[in-house]
């Protein structure tokens, strides 16, 4: 049989790659990009930032004054929230000032439960009650209120700014074209990388942390807004124009309200991402629960880290469910909301304020009620610490044997091989894949991205990232796809799997580190396990979703042709679901890369570590360049898989 040109091409490329690999022993420059050839991009960036901060001026005011003014402005609502919820305020009245306490815990707790009761069902009331109860009982209240304050300010700002940008992009094609690549980059650049410039421009403190949170949480809102506006039914827009709407009326009275469900998804995303950012933001001074987790993790105080981590998780789940329930409640026809009718939303707000005000008055009158008595606070910290000690004493041999076997026979050989990967060969392979999957344009783009990593001098670190990420993704898909298949097998399994995936996705990424470090100490092995856990969810979700999406008619046709269940699965459902599954794998890669950087905290030697080091040294140029390299790895993977899935979908006629 004659070899098709495509296969011949693949063989040739792989041949060249292996030759280069073999030659690498001979010529070191093939694997270690020569120092002299490196473009000092990182220094250029650092110099530019230094110039920006020290010298740049707009005539009337300097750049630095501008950023400081901006920070000052954002600080006002944040301080207001902090005073109200966490610290109280000292008014300059009378002798020594008049100290007004913050809102008492009982008031905030009751107001949240009241909200849950009005908008949701009994389950939500129990969830919110227990979560906030946990914060009180386990002595997390003070920190939690600090965190909640920054969320309360960051979320509305992120939503408004994101929606505004989305609207602007919808109105002007040029804006859309300009921000799409920036959004792509922002969602793939590891968070640490833009902590550095934020730190540089706005200093260390809660405001900078909040700015970083907003920057991190905003992109999905922009995307969701743009998508929602673009996919609004054409007829609705046409109706608006026929009714004689001006373009402003069309936007505010028709398009935005008509796509409010999609917009709520964006709001929800902003809330979840803001909470995800809590721990990371504490590296540049956010304080609160994130700070507690971070210090605990650094001291390896597993118990208290776990408690604070759980507090963040409960806060995240409560706010997530509350915001969803509120959105659903507002979508419900007024007739069905009970006797209060259209004023129901207002009455909920009034009710919450009344509860807070009443509790505040009672709390001020009887200060003993306002503070939860310390002696009632519970801590399980010592228990966990003891457990870890026990595990390490009694199970150490087994865990260590497991870890060492994997390391010696699987992980380290793979790592060695990748470390020896010749950069020209890899660039060629990636370029060829791009050409085959998406044409010349894609080929050029991905090759340039790979070369960028080499010429900025990050090749070896990048290869370690690829190794860590690759192994994790393989393990995650090996677990995730079968679980997804299981989930698609019956309605009950589907609900179970859905619940697991939802929980996995609500947990802030840092929380995954805690139990892993408990069992396997710091190191690459722990990193891989944490990445797998974090990146598992999309593989499961997309597999389940893809298999369920296969048209029932086709499945009936397969069954009528006499397929056994496994034949239906292997020969009909899986091939048809493959594009969806691959998009899940793609998401898994993205999440693995974003987790990769966080695992730098438990000691890896890859690009993530470089970014983290840059953060601690405030080395802007290095941080950004290494961060962009991570993003480029992500983009290369994303574009190649995306091109494959597109082609496959077109072949299957699924688009």
């Amino acid at each position: 049989m004659a070899l098709s040109p495509a296969w011949a091409g693949w063989l040739a490329v792989l041949g060249i790659l292996s030759i280069l690999w073999y030659l690498a022993g001979e010529y070191r420059w093939l694997t270690q990009y020569p120092q002299d050839w490196i473009i000092p991009l990182r220094y250029w960036i650092s110099d530019f930032m230094r110039w920006l901060v020290r010298e740049a001026s707009f005539g009337l005011f300097t750049f630095r004054e501008l950023t400081r003014a901006f920070a000052w402005l954002l600080d006002i609502p944040l301080q207001a929230c902090l005073h109200l919820l966490a610290h109280g305020i000292v008014l300059p009245l009378g002798e020594g000032g008049l100290r007004l306490p913050p809102l008492p815990w009982i008031g905030v707790l009751s107001a949240m439960v009241y909200l849950a009761w009005r908008v949701g069902d009994r389950g939500l009331v129990i969830l919110v009650g227990c979560s906030f109860g946990y914060l009180v009982l386990f002595g997390q209240w003070q920190s939690a209120m600090v965190t909640l304050s920054s969320i309360l300010v960051a979320v509305p700002l992120g939503v408004v700014a994101g929606a505004g940008l989305g609207i602007l992009a919808y109105r002007h094609r040029s804006v859309e074209k300009a921000i799409t690549p920036i959004l792509d980059l922002m969602q793939t650049v590891p968070v640490f990388a833009y902590l550095v410039p934020v730190l540089f421009l706005f200093g260390f403190g809660p405001v900078s942390a909040m700015i970083a949170t907003i920057i991190y949480a905003m992109p999905p809102m922009v995307r969701v807004t743009l998508l929602a506006l673009k996919t609004a039914p054409v007829e609705i827009t046409e109706f608006g124009r026929m009714a004689g709407c001006t373009s402003r009326q069309l936007m505010w009275k028709i398009l935005l309200p008509a796509s409010r469900h999609s917009l709520m998804v964006g709001v929800n995303q902003v809330i979840m991402l803001s909470l995800n950012m809590v721990i990371i933001a504490s590296m540049i001074g956010a304080g609160g629960l994130g700070h507690d987790v971070l210090t605990a993790l650094r001291r390896l105080a597993i118990g208290s880290g776990l408690e604070a981590g759980l507090a963040i998780t409960l806060l995240a789940i409560s706010l997530d469910r509350l915001s969803k329930a509120t959105a659903e409640y507002q979508a419900k026809p007024a007739r069905l909301r009970g006797r209060r009718g259209p004023l129901a939303s207002v009455s909920i707000g009034v009710g919450m304020i009344a509860i807070l005000a009443a509790s505040y008055l009672v709390g001020t009158a009887m200060p003993s009620l306002a503070v939860f008595p310390q002696q009632f606070a519970v801590s399980t910290g010592p228990f966990w610490d003891e457990l870890v000690r026990l595990v390490n004493i009694h199970l150490y041999d087994y865990l260590d044997a497991f870890k060492s076997t994997l390391l010696i026979y699987v992980l380290i050989p793979i790592k060695r091989a990748l470390m020896e990967a010749p950069w020209p060969g890899v660039a060629l392979l990636v370029g060829f894949a791009g050409w085959r999957l998406g044409g010349p344009r894609l080929a050029v783009v991905v090759t340039l991205l790979v070369l960028f990593i080499a010429i900025t001098g990050n090749w070896r670190n990048a290869m370690i990232s690829v190794y860590l990420c690759g192994i994790s993704v393989i393990i995650a898909t090996a677990i995730g796809i079968p679980v997804g298949i299981l989930g698609a097998s019956s309605e009950r399994m589907h609900r179970l799997v859905q619940a697991i995936v939802d929980t996995l996705q609500t947990l802030p990424s840092f929380v995954y580190l805690i139990p892993v470090v408990m069992l396997f100490q710091v190191g690459e092995f722990s990193a891989i396990i944490a990445i797998v856990l974090y990146a598992l969810a999309p593989a499961i979700r997309y597999t389940d979703h893809g298999l369920r999406g296969v048209s029932p008619e086709i499945i009936e046709a397969a069954r009528m042709s006499g397929c056994r269940p496994w034949q239906t699965l292997a020969k009909v459902r899986l091939p048809l679901a493959m594009p969806a599954i691959m998009l899940g794998v793609n998401q898994t890669i993205m999440m693995a890369l974003s987790m990769l950087v966080i695992t730098a905290l438990v000691g890896t030697n890859d690009l993530g570590q470089e970014v983290y080091i840059a953060l601690t040294r405030a080395d802007i140029g290095h941080g950004i360049v290494a961060g962009v390299c991570v993003a480029f790895i992500a983009i290369v993977a994303d574009r190649l898989i995306g091109a494959w899935a597109d082609r496959r979908k077109r072949l299957l006629g699924l688009t």
Partner: protein, 339 residues
């Protein structure tokens, strides 16, 4: 003759860039081959027709024939590539954006195939929406909205949301909304196509009832030939962007201009299309008539009465003038003459 309310003059719509230059180059008469070679898609080719005051003008065509495009050109939802759209003699294509908004606010109403109701508003607010846009105060616009809601038979559903209504009810809301501003021209873009056959029939009756009350100038788009002959005063048949024939339903049936039109009319029951005026013979002076029929009455509606009567029937216009007579044989001929 009735005066035209809305006219299309040599309207072209080409999709693809550089359409105008292309048309000028070919003297506004490119052949289909020219268009295809230049990579354009001609959704509307050289369409010219008048819509008269108070008539129901139906544009009928299969999917892709350009009927939706042309109705959107008439309201400038889509910008025509060339031609003129005259509303009361004023060229719409020369209007500024502000003038256009004014025209749409006060003179035009449109009903959409998939209703295009605003999901976040109640029935009442949906119907009042075009008035709200104009800046009318709440009390006045809601009074007006309640009137039209009652007119379309939805009284009592004012506080419902669109998704709580059936398809037929939703389209009643769409109709009420388009009538709220008392438009002079009423565009209906396949308004009943998304409905079940039984409901569709009911809505057609409802539509005819409303038109008797309101006497609007109507442009009605459909892909259903039966619907077209049921509702139309005149029908324009479109194929591949071109208007193939314009005429009264019976003209299309009796004298189809092309094989394409004949294909549509072949299955049509003639008695449902032909009117008394076409079938009647000159009145003889010495007969006694069994009764009177209007000249516009369709044969199917009056056949039963005439066949069961010994005497011929008089065809009289609304002033009572005798125009002709209809006897049993003529009716039977029509009924028997089925393809």
């Amino acid at each position: 003759m009735k005066e035209p309310k809305l006219s299309c003059r040599n309207v072209w719509k080409l999709f693809g860039s550089g359409g105008q230059a292309f048309l000028t180059e070919h003297g506004h008469a490119p052949s289909p081959d020219d268009v295809a070679r230049a990579g354009h898609i001609a959704a509307v080719r050289d369409a010219s027709f008048d819509v008269h005051v108070g008539e129901i003008f139906v544009i009928m065509g299969l999917s892709g024939s350009g009927k939706s495009t042309i109705v959107r050109c008439m309201s400038r939802l889509i910008e025509p590539t060339a031609g003129e759209i005259l509303l009361d003699g004023q060229n719409l294509l020369a209007c500024s954006e502000d003038e256009l908004i004014e025209l749409r606010r006060h003179k035009m109403g449109m009903v959409f195939q998939h209703f295009a109701l605003l999901p976040h508003l109640t029935v009442l607010s949906n119907v009042a929406f075009p008035l709200e846009i104009q800046g009318m105060d709440r009390a006045r616009r809601e009074t007006r909205a309640r009137e039209v809601i009652e007119l379309v038979g939805l009284k009592g559903r004012e506080d419902y949301f669109p998704r709580e209504l059936s398809g037929g009810q939703q389209q009643r809301v769409g109709i009420a909304r388009s009538l709220a501003v008392e438009p002079e021209i009423w565009f209906l873009d396949e308004p009943f196509s998304a409905l079940d056959p039984l409901i569709r029939r009911e809505m057609q009756d409802e539509f005819l009832r409303l038109q008797q009350l309101l006497n609007k100038t109507i442009v009605f788009i459909t892909h259903d030939f039966d619907e077209a002959i049921r509702l139309a005063d005149r029908i324009a048949i479109m194929k591949d962007g071109e208007i193939v024939q314009i005429g009264k339903p019976e003209e299309l049936v009796i004298k189809p201009a092309t094989d394409y039109v004949a294909e549509f009319t072949r299955g049509v029951t003639r008695a449902k299309v032909m009117t008394a005026a076409t079938v009647m013979s000159p009145a003889q002076s010495d007969v006694s008539f069994g009764g009177d029929v209007a000249p516009g009455a369709r044969i199917a509606e009056i056949a039963g009465r005439i066949i069961h009567d010994d005497k011929p029937y008089a065809v009289r216009d609304s002033d009572g003038h005798l125009l002709g007579q209809l006897d049993r044989e003529a009716i039977i001929n029509v009924l028997a003459d089925e393809g």
